[in-house]
């Protein structure tokens, strides 16, 4: 039985929900607006800002002055690199735990989760000094490794919960039909596992893109991804609202779009399967 809702009530909820939604979204909307204004216009009163001229100049300036795309490509490389490396290591582990569980599987999963709880600041110096010794400080490789390690528990967990949902009976049926292990993997399991792997990749690219403890502490000019590049605006010279806005919009746009597609996976990934 569907609950009947009066149109009157639906109008009220719609208005209220849109008002709240727009209010929450407003800071993002506002930097989008400011990114198209001149620096002089960007600090005027909100109404004057809206009425002033629009232009793409800031986007060009940000690129010219600071080689924005170097930092952008650092972000892309670090987030994709750490995610794919993590997937490569996590798929076999999650696979074996889901399909060949032993008495220790549960313990291992919980232990992996516990490594995620380690506060980064607690191991800041050992990592920092280790990076200097190994020549990894301010390198993209260093960040790929660190971000892979901090996200590995989440990757294993997410994959595990997805693989767990693949019915084992299907494997047995394939085996009865005489499928070999290789065929079993290739034609039966892989197609069923791909959606889960894709979701895991999506969420972890987002997490790695936005990570802002290690990226701030372990990079300087060379390997700095967007998180660290944007932080350099915290000690500005002169007028910079419009340029900061343009840099920010470009930094968050790809992830906003990816994020909107990953709402479901987000819940699952970040609660370690506790809420689905």
């Amino acid at each position: 039985m569907a609950r009947t809702v009066t149109t009157h009530r639906k109008i009220l909820t719609t208005l209220l929900a849109w008002a709240v939604g727009l209010l929450i979204f407003f800071p993002i909307f506002w930097i989008i607006v400011l990114s198209f204004k001149s620096e002089g216009d960007a600090i005027k009163t909100p109404i004057q800002v809206l009425l002033s001229a629009w232009s793409f100049d800031n986007y060009a300036t940000v690129q010219e002055r600071s080689d924005y795309f170097k930092h952008f490509s650092n972000s892309v490389l670090i987030s994709l690199g750490s995610t794919f490396l993590g997937i490569l290591i996590a798929v076999p582990a999650a696979w074996s735990m889901a399909f060949v569980p032993s008495k220790r599987t549960r313990g291992i999963l919980m232990w992996m989760l516990s490594t995620k709880m380690l506060p980064a600041v607690g191991v800041l110096y050992p990592i920092y000094i280790g990076f200097i010794r190994l020549g990894l400080l301010d390198t993209r490789l260093g960040l790929v490794l660190i971000l892979m390690l901090i996200n590995l528990p989440i990757i294993v967990w997410m994959l595990y919960t997805y693989f767990k949902e693949i019915p084992v009976e299907i494997l047995e049926a394939a085996r009865m039909d005489g499928a070999r292990l290789r065929e079993e993997l290739l034609y039966v399991l892989t197609p069923m596992a791909i959606p889960g792997i894709a979701s895991t990749i999506l969420l972890n690219v987002i997490l790695a893109w936005n990570e802002a403890f290690w990226t701030l502490n372990l990079t300087a000019a060379k390997a700095a991804p967007l998180t660290a590049f944007i932080a350099s605006y915290s000690s500005p010279e002169g007028l910079f609202y419009a340029k900061l806005s343009a840099a920010s919009v470009m930094a968050i746009a790809p992830i906003l779009i990816m994020g909107w597609f990953s709402q479901k996976q987000l819940v699952r990934g970040l609660t370690f399967g506790a809420v689905k």
Binding site: I24, Y233, Q263
Partner: protein
């Protein structure tokens, strides 16, 4: 189906992940532990020998420690209260039938995808700046004196910025939980004459209890290590120095590594206490 052969294959498949995480956990942790018992000043003499529990005592008795604990508690507590309370209300609202639900949902969860340095700087400059910020223009329009947000009301400002980032997370998880609520149960209660408030109190809220616990625990772990938002807004000034930030300053800014490491060990113990509770909740789910 698990033969001896597949068991050893399984172990082999798990090995890389287990070994990496083991190394990642043990190596730095051991170093931090060792350093915490030493007087270690990289820029002023380096390793100056073992000092027993001296660093642990000094970290706790320094004048910066208790303010940092208080700040940490206020920030974590404040953000938790705001995000959970507003999150429940928002989740209830978004669960109602309306036009454009998908778009509203997108608007609401957007802040979660904004990187911490961007949200910190955007709030600091474009909104909280006492001269050119949006709030300052708003105050002036109403004839009021603009507030020096990040210096005069530093903690509330910080809590507001962080809550803006985490409200989507709480909302999304609570909304997912609400949508799994059995609607027949609610209808039955309605037919029995239960009003909206008692339906919420006796059916919705108990159903949400587990999701709320998960939100609180996970957020606590992330909030205890909030860093970038403070780094780009106040850099720890105006009473916004949390425990995490204090340790960061001891280790990297003043290069007192022994002292900072002792602080790090405290932070690890604290996080593990929270984690213990979280693992219980998550662990229960594994059995199901």
């Amino acid at each position: 189906m698990a033969t001896q052969h597949s068991r050893s294959a399984a172990r082999l498949m798990m090995a890389p992940a287990v070994i990496l995480l083991l190394g990642w956990m043990l190596l730095p942790l051991t170093m931090t532990l060792v350093l915490s018992f030493k007087k270690y000043l990289p820029l002023r003499g380096g390793d100056l020998g073992w000092v027993g529990f001296d660093n642990y005592v000094r970290f706790v008795s320094s004048s910066a420690f208790w303010p940092a604990v208080t700040t940490t508690l206020i920030v974590v507590g404040g953000v938790l209260i705001i995000t959970v309370a507003l999150g429940v209300l928002l989740a209830l609202l978004l669960d109602q039938p309306m036009w454009g639900q998908g778009i509203v949902r997108i608007l609401v969860i957007a802040p979660f995808f904004v990187m911490p340095t961007v949200s910190g700087l955007v709030w600091k400059n474009m909104f909280m700046d006492p001269v050119n910020g949006f709030f300052a223009h708003l105050s002036k329009a109403f004839g009021a004196e603009p507030i020096q947000w990040l210096s005069q009301a530093s903690l509330p400002s910080l809590i507001m910025i962080i809550s803006w980032q985490w409200l989507p997370f709480a909302t999304l998880i609570l909304l997912t939980a609400i949508q799994s609520l059995d609607s027949e149960q609610v209808e039955a209660a309605e037919m029995d004459g239960a009003g909206a408030i008692s339906r919420f109190r006796f059916i919705v809220l108990p159903h949400l209890a587990r999701a709320m616990t998960v939100v609180v625990l996970i957020q606590t772990i992330f909030l205890l290590s909030v860093f970038a938002e403070i780094f780009v807004t106040t850099a720890g000034a105006f009473g916004t120095k949390t425990l995490t930030y204090l340790i960061f300053q001891r280790v990297l800014e003043s290069q007192n590594v022994g002292l900072g490491s002792a602080g790090g060990v405290y932070a690890i113990i604290l996080a593990n206490l929270v984690a213990l509770f979280l693992m219980r909740v998550v662990g229960k789910n594994l059995d199901a």
